[in-house]
């Protein structure tokens, strides 16, 4: 058993799932705001990084790491709401290009501002769990307590999001606000507040993801730490379908595995190329992703 778990195949699976679940989280937070506001948040990664900087640099002031993580997520939560109110609200009903351009501008702004405030030198974050891989009878299994923590918390976050959306009154309102905003308004649902709340949830999930990414072995907190992670996350969301939370999770895992197997059996620099190839192939077959029902073009 130890031998199998330590095999090259299984270590790729472990690594692929560990990375993929990160992409799933990014994809999920993209889907949450896309569904409700039809804005693809290109600044997702930069917003998350910014919130993480605010929270995690508190470690240097001797504050408990768990508290710092809570601060980051809370900052992300508030930040998401502010962004929706100030930047996004004026863009509802505008052509596609306007929100894209504004969010790309916001991405640049936050990334440069983070570099201006905290510098470009990466900061290695302490990890709350050991990053040393488990061994079994002399074989190294590519799972560490941190990776287990990463996977378990990511799954927990997804489960919470899914349960809230599926089974609570709040989730019912959020889904109604996304699916039929006008009808929801006529039934007394305060849609504006829910859209803001959707951005807050998304941004909080994003911040949590950025913390995990920055804590990973071999990674560190830098202004562009989420750059390529965001691209993979977007690819995951587009592969799964921007309208589908399940698609986001599946897409993330798929891209994570593709990335890991490519870099192990080919080379690391081919990983983004292969991810793009997967995206292209999927979109050629289903232009709106694997899990979205194809809709008619409007005349």
């Amino acid at each position: 058993m130890g031998g199998f778990l330590a095999s090259r195949f299984m270590s790729d699976v472990f690594n692929g799932v560990a990375n993929g679940i990160i992409f799933s989280l990014i994809a999920l937070s993209l889907v949450v705001v896309w569904q409700s506001t039809n804005v693809l948040n290109f600044a997702q990664g930069a917003m998350a990084t910014f919130a993480t900087y605010i929270g995690m640099t508190q470690v240097e002031h001797g504050i408990n790491i768990w508290l710092c993580m809570v601060i980051s997520v809370v900052v992300g939560f508030i930040f998401g709401g502010l962004t929706e109110r100030v930047l996004i609200r004026p863009l509802y009903g505008k052509p596609d290009i306007n929100p894209i351009v504004v969010m790309v501008g916001f991405l640049g702004f936050l990334q440069f501002l983070a570099a201006a405030i905290w510098g470009n030198i990466p900061r290695i974050l302490p990890s709350p769990f050991s990053q040393v891989f488990y061994t079994s009878k002399g074989h190294t299994i590519f799972l560490s307590p941190f990776v287990v923590f990463q996977i378990l918390t990511a799954v927990t976050v997804m489960m919470i999001v899914a349960l809230v959306f599926r089974f609570t009154t709040l989730g019912l309102k959020l889904r109604a606000a996304a699916l039929a905003p006008e009808v929801a308004r006529l039934l007394g649902v305060r849609v504006d507040r829910l859209l803001t709340f959707g951005w807050m949830i998304s941004s909080a999930v994003g911040s949590f993801t950025a913390i995990l990414v920055a804590m990973q072995n071999g990674s560190a907190l830098s202004p562009s730490v989420m750059g390529s992670v965001f691209i993979f996350g977007f690819i995951a969301a587009a592969v799964g379908g921007l309208d589908s939370p399940i698609g986001a999770v599946v897409g993330g895992l798929l891209i994570g595995l593709v990335e890991q197997f490519t870099l192990d059996y080919w080379q690391a620099n081919m990983a983004p190329v292969m991810a793009l190839v997967v995206l292209i192939v999927v979109l050629m077959i289903r232009p709106r992703g694997l899990f979205t029902k194809n809709t008619q073009r409007r005349v």
């Binding site: 109604a176 039934l187 007394g188």
Partner: protein, 235 residues
């Protein structure tokens, strides 16, 4: 109950409603009739603040509605069943009803159960997605969902749209019963003037955005000129 005064609504430069005034008495059914493009839907959408008038006032009792948010108007007890029913197809029957109960002051589970009692057809389909319902069932669901919140005013936009004459008659009877039993004030927008006049107490006829008649339903039903020129009822 509802008073519309000198209402003018524009789409860009084009006026959809021009200086429209009328009153709806509490507990009555008022039919708003007219051809396509007469401004009926615009009128209902303006009452619910989905559109902003360029001039005029709307009052619910003593409360001014113009300038209020749509969701606040709903919470004042105005239930609006929009054109095409507005049933959320991706939701189950029960979820649709729960959605309606959100602005209800009382226990929502209770309110939902009460509607299942009133509409046994829906109770059978409780867990089905609304997309699988027939047109008549969807209209029932839309009505039930509007009633869950115990409104005082019901705004109905073309409930007969796309329904067979038999189902239409059924729906109209339901509306009439509801109005009587629950003391509901109903504004019924219809193209199907004949069915609407059968249950209405009062009728307002719109033509290209202006009121051409505002009279008891019986008078409108007996006025051949109105019927010929505006309602297409006399050959």
């Amino acid at each position: 109950m509802i008073r519309v005064a000198h209402l003018t609504v524009k789409y860009g430069a084009i006026a959809a409603l021009t200086d429209v005034s009328f009153e709806v008495r509490p507990g009555s059914i008022t039919a708003v009739l007219g051809a396509n493009g007469a401004g009926k839907t615009t009128l209902l959408r303006t009452i619910s603040s989905l559109m902003t008038p360029s001039q005029g006032e709307i009052f619910l009792g003593d409360t001014a509605l113009v300038g209020q948010k749509t969701e606040d108007i709903a919470r004042l007890g105005v239930a609006h069943v929009p054109e095409g029913r507005g049933v959320v197809a991706e939701f189950t029957v029960e979820e649709n009803l729960r959605l309606g109960a959100l602005s209800s002051p009382e226990n929502s589970a209770h309110a939902v159960a009460a509607q299942f009692e009133r509409f046994p057809v829906l109770a059978q389909r409780r867990k089905q997605y609304a997309a699988t319902l027939s047109g008549g069932e969807r209209q029932m669901l839309a009505l039930a969902r509007a009633l869950v919140a115990r409104p005082t005013v019901l705004l109905l936009d073309e409930p007969s749209l796309g329904l067979s004459p038999m189902v239409t008659a059924d729906i109209m009877t339901t509306i009439s019963t509801l109005s009587r039993e629950e003391k509901l004030t109903v504004v019924l927008v219809e193209q199907n003037a004949k069915s609407a006049l059968r249950i209405a107490d009062h009728a307002v006829v719109l033509h290209v955005g202006t009121v051409v008649a505002d009279a008891p339903a019986g008078d409108v039903a007996n006025n051949d000129d109105l019927k010929r020129f505006y309602l297409g009822l006399v050959k």
